[in-house]
Each structure stands twice: as C-alpha cells, then as structure tokens.
Subunit: 150 residues, 2 copies
Amino acid sequence: MTVSTASISAAPGAERLYAIGDLSAEFGISPRAIRFYEDQGLLRPQRIGGNRIYGAGDRARLQLILRGKRLGFALADIKELLDLYDVDADHLEQLRATLLKGRARIAELERQQQEIALTVKELREIGAEIEDSIRRKEAAARTAGRKGPP
Amino acid sequence: MTVSTASISAAPGAERLYAIGDLSAEFGISPRAIRFYEDQGLLRPQRIGGNRIYGAGDRARLQLILRGKRLGFALADIKELLDLYDVDADHLEQLRATLLKGRARIAELERQQQEIALTVKELREIGAEIEDSIRRKEAAARTAGRKGPP
DNA sequence: CCCATCCCTTACGTTAACGTCATGCATGTG
DNA sequence: CACATGCATGACGTTAACGTAAGGGATGGG
C-alpha cells in the first residue's frame, strides 16, 4: 500500500520534509502557485531527481508569503521582506541597509494598523445605526400588527 | 485670470464641489483611475454637461476606496463595503443582511490586525538581532584597528 | 482667432499572479 | 503489463486595475 499522509518518508530524528503536493494541500493553494513563488525567487527548495523537496524552513517561508499576501503586499515586496530573514551577518553595510528596510516596513505596517482600526470603528458605528433601524422597524411592525392599516 | 485653486466656483454656504482634476491632484491618483472606479460602480458623481462633479460625499467615498486599496482589498470588495454606508432603512431583510456583511468584514479586519501584529513582532526580533550583529561587527572592527591583522 | 487647458469617450496595451493545457518521466498497484 | 498517480517543464490564457493613445467638445486668455 501507499503512504497516505506523507509522500516523503522521514528517518527518525531527521527534519520533516514535504513534497509540493503536501504543502499545496496543507495551505489550500495550487502547486502551480508554489512553483510560481519559486520562479519569482521567494522559495528555493532542494531537488531530488528533479522533484522539489521542502524542509521546515521552506514551509515557514511559504507561510510568510501567504500572510504577506493576505496583508495585500505584492510578491516583490514579500520577497524583500523574506530577504530580511536570511541576511548574512558578515557585511556591515548590508546589515545597516536591512535594518533600515525592516524599520520602514514596520512603519508601513503600523500605518496599516491605524487604517484598519479606523475602518473597524466606522463599521461598528454603521452597525450600531443599522441595529437601531432594525429595532425601530420591528417596533413599528408590532404596533402595526395591533392597530395598523390593512 | 483663471481661478487656480478651485476649478468649480461655489456659492457661499453651498457644498464644496470638485472637478475630477481636483480630486486626482489631491489624492495623487490619475483621472483615469477615478473614472474607472465609476465604471465599477464605486462612485456616482453628478454631471454638468458631460463633466463629472463631485461633492463632499463623493470625496469621502473616494477616500474610503483608497484606504481599502491600501489595506489590500479588491475593488469589488470595497464596493460591497461602500454599499454598507448607504443602505436604505426601509427593507428589514436588507438591513439584516447588511449587518451580517459588516460583521464579517469586521472579523476579517481583526484577523488582519493580528497578522500585522505578528509580523511587526517578528520584524522587531529580526531587527534586534541585526542590531546585535552590527554592534559585534563594530566592536570587532575596533579591536582589529588596535592590534588586528593587516 | 488661435492656442492652451480641462474635460469627455472609445479602445487597445500592460502588469501581476496565477490557471489551464499539453506532454512526458517515474513509481507503485491489480 | 496496463493503468493510475504525482511531479516536471513549457507555453498560452485569464483577470484586475489601471496606463496610454487617439480624437473631439467647451472655455478662457493674449
């Protein structure tokens, strides 16, 4: 019979590995999308005879990609964000540049936070008004039910 | 001479009005984009001899559109959101439906909040590590400056 | 009157992010 | 062995959100 849950067998103690189908199923995206992220340089899985093999790190990167997408960032932006994670600690100038990029990204995210907070607040206000309208409507309906017009 | 700041004259006490160029300049977008939003049913300005005339309400809607875009929503989603604002208080069923949509949208935004918070936290951690690396680098450079190799 | 400045519509072009299809290798199963 | 399953690589198709170009009316200044 075939192994159903994991298409890649793992030696005990070794890192858990995934085939492209595993990840696509787990995250509800298509294999095509995952390959596309690789084309764009967001993923670099190992290969075994042509087949892509993803480790825990690749999986984590994929999660970050999807989160970034949900936040409305373009893949190019997400790539920059991912690159912040694996900067080599040898080149001082690159470290400084990375730090600045990270801070800029944080600032941007905090602006988003505020805009979301504002939107939520406004939606809550609209919601309260609508609830009022509903209550008045229902009250009017009850009144009409007792002595209203035909 | 020509009126420079406002291309549409306003009677005292009347609502401030805008031409398409005014709004595009104010928000840093193209007239084409604004017309496109109208094509998609997100805006409904008045017309005066073919020309679009925007009031305060239209301007506010445009602001909401742009905010929604910054939050990563598609125009179709934003349209739904905008429709929440001008639901007529007469049809009870529509009120209830609007209320539900609004709540769903709020839930979605709150998920976004959490994801942003998580991302910011992780970026801060990376930032701290990078700062450490920089400090170590600088310290090593100073030491090397005193007695390091050529 | 001519020109510059807005505005309009129509229509085709472009980019991002995949979807879809064709084709082919490798492996495991009845 | 025939077949299904999973993965691979191309290559073309699609959708959203505009950009861009072409052609034309209205207005105001020099």
